[in-house]
């Protein structure tokens, strides 16, 4: 008898619970969805490396990149390096959600370039699980600087190429990192002993200190880097020195449609081939450059 009463009460309470738990019911019946990671980085570049981010479909982006003169080159006289700044400008557009294409110009060697960035995978969880975002970046550079030696040159010798495979992961809302196998190819190098194709492995990480600010670090060690000649001082014989690996530390500041990136780097060439494989700046010798990347986006094609 008591058992039956108990059942009755149970049934009643079940009924009441059913009313209260509409929300639980909704949560239980909601469709399994794939949740894609977004905003792994604030900008499309860390400092010199690309990130897996690209502007949304129908968005035009221009960036202005500056690398000031070095700390050890009459720094104050040159207005903190500003007077010796190297500049790069780019304009890119995303015709598709997964594709971004652009053009750039760099002051160093008067270089023109064209590039494409393409998304291969996106980090996601839920129905579809993907631990990393993988994005490809390919670009071709034409060094247009005049030669004053009167020799006839094939224009193809002015070309260089960079390919980056960006493997990025957002570990927490604040911490992201990426490894970037990078291949740099020069059609023409200084001596027959130099490598035309240089392999490097980019490493980068960021830590967000506030919602709008992040600290970034980037290092791009080369596996088979070339050397450059150094004239001997005081009559000594000329020697050669290895090109440096690019190391940069910076800060991202986001303000609506802009991302400002302020940093210190040992690479002044701005364009990828010169930064990754022809960098003569050394941290230890004080060849450090203030620099900034500024991006601005414009929505050309609205989503709806």
């Amino acid at each position: 008898m008591t058992k039956l009463y108990f059942l009755l009460i149970l049934a009643l309470s079940l009924n009441l619970r059913a009313q209260d738990d509409l929300l639980a019911e909704l949560e239980a019946t909601s469709l399994p969805a794939t949740e894609y990671t977004f905003a792994t980085w604030k900008g499309t570049k860390v400092v010199n490396l690309q990130t897996n981010e690209m502007p949304g479909e129908g968005v035009l982006q221009y960036t202005i990149l500056h690398r000031f003169g070095a700390f050890n080159q009459d720094f104050v006289y040159n207005f903190f390096g500003l007077d010796n700044a190297q500049v790069r400008l780019t304009l890119d557009y995303s015709p598709k959600e997964w594709l971004n294409v652009g053009l750039g110009h760099t002051g160093f060697l008067k270089t023109y370039d064209a590039f494409a960035k393409y998304r291969l995978t996106r980090q996601s969880k839920g129905e579809k699980n993907m631990p990393v975002s993988i994005t490809g970046f390919s670009s071709v550079y034409f060094a247009n600087q005049r030669f004053n030696d009167g020799l006839d040159r094939n224009p193809a010798t002015r070309l260089s190429f960079v390919n980056e495979l960006i493997i990025a992961r957002k570990f927490t809302p604040n911490i992201s990192a990426q490894i970037v196998p990078t291949l740099v190819h020069f059609n023409l190098v200084e001596t027959p002993n130099d490598n035309n194709t240089i392999f490097a492995l980019g490493l980068a990480a960021r830590y967000k200190i506030t919602k709008m600010h992040a600290i970034t670090v980037e290092y791009v060690p080369q596996f088979n880097g070339n050397s450059y000649p150094v004239p001997g001082e005081n009559g000594a014989a000329p020697s050669s020195e290895k090109f440096s690996n690019a190391l940069s530390i910076g800060m991202d500041i986001e303000t609506g449609g802009h991302v400002f990136q302020l940093f210190v780097t040992n690479a002044q060439g701005v364009a990828e081939p010169y930064v990754f494989a022809q960098n003569t700046g050394s941290w230890l010798e004080g060849d450090l450059h203030f620099g900034f990347n500024i991006s601005r986006v414009f929505t050309i094609k609205k989503k709806k």
Binding site: L8, N15, Q19, L22, L26, L31, G56, T255, T299
Partner: protein, 179 residues
């Protein structure tokens, strides 16, 4: 005695079964922020809702990442900087419609009633009491409600430098047609 108990037990269970629950997975929630500098408009069509006509209780579940903006960057900032949707992926709204007994699915009609409930988003819960317009047509019930909320009530801070672009007061529109 035993018989009565069985009957009442059966009655209770059958009540539970006959509960008149309406549901939808394609309810819509939109919000609008107006400032002299720019207007921001976002719509979410992946809202799910249940309405129980036996007791007037309702629930809405809003996946934050499903809000669609005109500009991709706005959507990213909304999720990353304001709603922190990685941490707070859904907004919830549960409560009761007063005088729900007036609603009849058997004939076409319009009702303006009051709903009261709790809205939870960005980890903050707040009581809301609002007018709701309910329409019954051909046995289908649809619901609409417009109200304003303050972002600051839900711990969503708009920095001073963005105050010209983003309004703290947001006009929210909810509409649902139940299956």
């Amino acid at each position: 005695m035993k018989k009565t108990l069985f009957i009442s037990l059966g009655l209770v269970f059958s009540l539970a079964v006959s509960a008149q629950k309406l549901s939808t997975r394609s309810a819509e929630v939109s919000f609008f922020s107006a400032t002299p500098v720019e207007n921001i408009d976002a719509t979410n069509q992946q809202v799910s809702s249940i309405l129980n006509l036996d007791n007037g209780q309702f629930a809405f579940l809003v996946p934050i990442k499903a809000f669609q903006f005109e500009k991709a960057l706005m959507q990213e900032h909304f999720n990353e900087n304001y709603m922190e949707s990685g941490q707070f992926p859904t907004a919830k709204f549960t409560g009761e419609i007063a005088n729900y007994k007036k609603i009849s699915l058997d004939k076409d009609g319009r009702y303006t009633l009051v709903l009261a409930g709790t809205m939870t988003m960005h980890g903050v819960s707040k009581e809301i009491k609002q007018e709701v317009r309910i329409t019954v047509k051909n046995g289908k019930l649809s619901l609409k409600s417009d109200f304003n909320i303050l972002a600051s009530d839900y711990g969503v801070e708009i920095p001073a430098t963005k105050a010209d672009n983003i309004s703290n007061s947001l006009a929210v529109k909810v509409s649902a047609t139940y299956d």
